[in-house]
């Protein structure tokens, strides 16, 4: 597949270049870089979610399940068996992929709200298991990754900037996967499923297989984000890692505010929402309990009301990539010049 340099791609590359340089211009151990890293990680999570939620419009409210599977798998393998989180991350992705495939069997017949509720329930089940199965997971107190100084092979670094760059690389990877899927055959099929499932089937699209493939990829990438999150924050517990509001809904929200099913949407959404949330917290949490969440919620509602299709709706349409015009084949049938193509345009 040849990549043409469109305005969108140029902007995306500029964004990654600028983001890569950020640690040189802010305090490398400071709060700003941590927030930036968190925003990029949420962009990567939301982009992973966007593969299923955006391209196929299967709105999952349970992606925290895969996020948590990733975090627990890499962390437990490291803490109990001493296996490097780099390998644990791969194991977590595989496990999340299997979980997504198993979850697909009963849930793919469900549409819209019912699918969302089923996925939500799955994440809740995972949270309850993580809380109750203390001998394996450590239970409600959660898991702590011990600070061991700089051990790159064990995914441990002193500087925040190291984690920041890894997260930026992860975001690039997820965006690349999203871009390849969206522009490939599976992208057309997923969009067909999103827009009319019955018509897609009749037009020869194996809708189940397409959704399954997208779900497995989406879950695996989300799990990688979970492993990286665990290494970055050094601590997590069942209620935070499997959180509905903090993880599942936020992943969906970022993509929706940014622009569902678009490559730029999750990045713009995360860069808008995560700093906004942090700022609201910093300025308002001392004023009154819950005030910052209230303000954040009001801004979210306003954003959705002002532009339901997300910030990417302001993207100039002529800049969007279109399937290129097919080469004109020689006229086949000796017919009268058809009037329909001209009529009524």
């Amino acid at each position: 597949m040849r990549a043409k340099l469109t305005p969108g791609l140029v902007l995306l590359l500029l964004f990654f270049a600028a983001a890569a340089l950020l640690p040189f211009y802010v305090d490398p151990r400071g709060h700003v870089l941590r927030i930036a890293a968190m925003a990029l990680l949420f962009a990567a999570m939301s982009q992973s979610w966007n593969i299923v939620g955006g391209l196929a419009n299967q709105v999952s409210l349970g992606h925290a399940a895969f996020f948590g599977i990733g975090a627990y798998t890499s962390s437990l393998l490291y803490l109990r068996l001493g296996i490097s989180p780099w390998l644990g991350l791969v194991a977590g992705a595989a496990l999340a992929g299997v979980a997504a495939a198993l979850l697909s069997l009963p849930t793919f017949r469900l549409k819209g709200h019912y699918f969302a509720l089923a996925t939500l329930a799955f994440a809740e089940v995972m949270r309850v298991i993580a809380n109750s199965w203390a001998s394996l997971t450590g239970g409600p107190v959660g898991l702590s990754i011990p600070f061991v100084g700089s051990q790159p092979l064990n995914f441990a670094f002193r500087a925040v900037s190291s984690y920041y760059w890894i997260i930026l690389g992860l975001l690039a990877l997820v965006c690349l996967v999203f871009g390849l899927l969206a522009r490939g055959a599976i992208g057309y099929r997923l969009r067909a499923v999103r827009e009319n499932e019955a018509a897609a089937e009749v037009a020869g699209v194996d809708t189940f297989r397409v959704k399954l493939t997208a779900s497995v990829i989406s879950a695996a990438l989300t799990a990688v984000c979970g492993s990286v999150f665990a290494q970055f924050t050094f601590f997590f517990d069942p209620d935070s890692i499997f959180s509905l509001a903090g993880v599942s809904v936020r992943m969906a929200m970022i993509a929706i505010v940014g622009g569902l099913g678009t490559l730029g949407g999750p990045i713009i959404g995360a860069l808008f929402l995560i700093p906004l949330e942090e700022t609201a917290n910093a300025f308002l949490s001392s004023k009154a309990a819950g005030l910052s969440q209230l303000v954040f919620g009001v801004i979210l509602i306003a954003a959705i009301l002002i532009q339901p299709r997300g910030i990417m709706a302001y993207w100039p349409k002529r800049w969007s990539r279109r399937a290129p015009r097919p080469p004109a084949p020689p006229p086949v049938a000796p017919q009268a010049e058809p009037a329909l193509a001209k009529g009524g345009q």
């Binding site: 490939g184 055959a185 057309y188 099929r189 969009r191 067909a192 827009e195 009319n196 019955a198 018509a199 897609a200 089937e201 009749v202 037009a203 020869g204 699209v205 194996d206 809708t207 189940f208 279109r322 399937a323 290129p324 015009r325 097919p326 080469p327 004109a328 084949p329 006229p331 086949v332 049938a333 017919q335 009268a336 010049e337 058809p338 009037a339 329909l340 193509a341 001209k342 009529g343 009524g344 345009q345």
Partner: protein, 262 residues
């Protein structure tokens, strides 16, 4: 495959919704290269029959054979893969895609992305839609949508194509164009089963007609035979309209009003 081989065989197929028998034991065969019309009053079970043939609707009983191979019970994409697909009555296109992308998606059934694009372009040219390949389907007129719907179905390279009212809302000259395309595709061996309310189109286009009412096959034969069958006149056209419409239909006269209320 010689001309007498049944390419499609419906054996006593039935579809029941609760107590309602939408399709009640219908059997028929289509021979390769035939254009067969399926007619009947609204609610007779035509669309349900189409859906059950392509696998969108599960059969309560009976079976469907395509080229001698059983396709009933398969999912629609498998049936499409075996060579039978349909168009949707109200043009169920993928609204956020261009015309080309709609057709390309169906061409992916038998092609990789690059050659699917070529295939889609060729099908669009064949139907005279080359000029609107890049148009968003949301911006199309209704007749254009119906043709894109047909192009998308053709892109799956079917042996049997079920057309559900693709000619509704077409002007007479547009209808002639579409019929010319259907005939030329038939000459290449494609087999058609056509639902259409336009009497003129049905009479002019079809080699044979199947008449359904209340989920049952009540008559079949050449257009002329069917048009003069008293059972058909009673069921399909109603007592009041019977006389005028019969002569009109039998002579292939223009019945513009017939299309307007379809």
């Amino acid at each position: 495959m010689n001309a007498q081989t049944p390419v499609l065989e419906a054996q006593a197929i039935a579809v029941t919704f609760g107590g309602l028998k939408a399709v009640d034991g219908i059997s028929f065969t289509l021979t390769a290269g035939e254009i067969v019309g399926l007619i009947g009053p609204n609610g007779a079970g035509k669309t349900t029959l189409f859906n059950s043939l392509v696998g969108l609707q599960r059969l309560t009983s009976g079976q469907v054979l395509l080229g001698g191979e059983r396709v009933s019970g398969l999912k629609p994409h498998r049936v499409a893969g075996k060579g039978m697909t349909k168009t949707f009555q109200n043009a169920a296109l993928f609204p956020d895609m261009s015309v080309l992308e709609n057709v390309l998606t169906a061409a992916l059934l038998r092609h990789d992305l690059a050659s699917a694009r070529m295939k889609a372009g060729a099908v669009l040219h064949r139907l005279g839609l080359g000029a609107i390949a890049q148009t968003d389907v949301a911006d199309l007129t209704f007749p254009q949508k119906a043709l894109v719907e047909m192009a998308r179905a053709l892109a799956t390279e079917p042996k049997v194509l079920l057309l559900d009212e693709v000619m509704a809302a077409l002007t007479p000259s547009e209808m002639d164009e579409v019929m010319a395309v259907i005939r030329s595709l038939r000459d290449e061996g494609l087999t058609f089963l056509v639902v259409e309310h336009h009497m003129r189109a049905i009479m002019a286009l079809c080699d044979r007609l199947l008449v359904v009412n209340f989920g049952r096959l009540i008559a079949q034969g050449t257009p002329a035979e069917v048009a003069n069958d008293p059972v058909v006149i009673e069921a399909y056209l109603g007592q009041g309209a019977a006389h005028g419409a019969t002569t009109d239909a039998a002579t292939g006269g223009t019945n513009a009003a017939g299309g307007a209320h379809a």
